[in-house]
Symmetry: C2
Subunit: 199 residues, 2 copies
């Protein structure tokens, strides 16, 4: 016996999500059958809305349902700083910290020769245009991830932007707060020693 068609299709759809295999997808599908009808309708509409209503901000590349995005429109933010991230979700993480009140720019990836991703595949040319148009920007903070690709991308941006007389900085690397030195990996310890600060 096969699952009834609507269930089989829903299982297929759940399985397309990351980290969800056959068993979990089946469990979720049967759970969906028993869900409140309004919740299922809202879920269905929310899925379509993410595709229909969301797009990338024409200025910074952030995900938004309006253009320009909320951050680019907000003139109370510090217009002298641009923080460069790999993905839109990195912006949300930074915003939760509430330490940074400047602008953002999303690269939508990192340089990766293995995957054949060069500078022209990233949202870099629009960053350069932004810097040329807007003389207010004094600092570009590169917040790509601490991976080899992230580091290479940071280096590339630094070489590209510094000649224009704009300060380029990188987020500090070091021990996570609450970490025992005993459990830190060598590379992190190395960076923590290099970046040590006066007390």
């Amino acid at each position: 016996m096969q699952y009834p068609e609507p269930i089989a299709k829903l299982i297929d759809s759940y399985m397309k999500l990351p980290g969800i295999g056959n068993k979990t997808a089946t469990r979720l599908a049967f759970y969906t059958v028993d869900m409140n009808e309004d919740d299922v309708k809202a879920f269905s509409q929310a899925l379509l809305a993410t595709k229909d209503k969301l797009h990338y901000c024409s200025i910074c590349g952030n995900l938004t349902d309006e253009d320009p995005c909320e951050i680019c429109r907000d003139k109370t933010r510090d217009q002298t700083k641009i923080l460069v991230v790999e993905q839109p979700k990195d912006i949300m993480v930074m915003e939760k910290v509430q330490e940074y009140r400047g602008l953002y720019h999303v690269l939508h990836g990192v340089l990766s020769p293995i995957e054949g991703k060069g500078p022209e595949d990233l949202n870099i040319s629009s960053l350069i245009k932004r810097l040329q148009k807007n003389n207010d920007v004094q600092e570009v903070i590169v917040a790509t991830n601490a991976t080899p690709e992230g580091e290479a991308t940071a280096m590339y941006l630094s070489k590209l932007i510094k000649p224009a007389g704009i300060r380029v900085t990188r987020l500090a690397h070091g021990l996570s707060v609450g970490t025992d030195i005993e459990y830190a990996d060598e590379m992190t310890l190395f960076k923590a020693v290099q970046g040590r600060t006066e007390m």
Copy 2:
């Protein structure tokens, strides 16, 4: 900064699923943004279809998109046996084993005084009607789960059906295949000794 509204709504919907918290829901929502548009549309439609097209079989209570369900319509199946399960998904599990070729009946729950669930809240009266109408049935196999509520429900059904001269059986309890005796719990071992078979 808040998430754009479509993302926030999708995160809410994902969080309504069992075992999915805020972080996973956020990850799934951002993943959905990058998904193939056709896949998202299919997902959205599959959700609606589970609510619109699926209902319970009027004979056995199984989930189906046609009435009666595939199994109740199949006259090649053994019409002398009815296997009673708690939930529709239990039928799918039994069918995968391919040992059983009879009919099914879904209770949609178990007797549970704590949750205030009595016999009238379960799909029991339709089982009795089925047995009265259909003189072919010679055996009712009770396959409720091996929980206190499942056992109590099995006992209740047995007392109800046996006087009609129909054989009532219960799935065997014992050690799982591949289990070390060392790691089996006491209750399972007790059942395994009780149900020992000749070699």
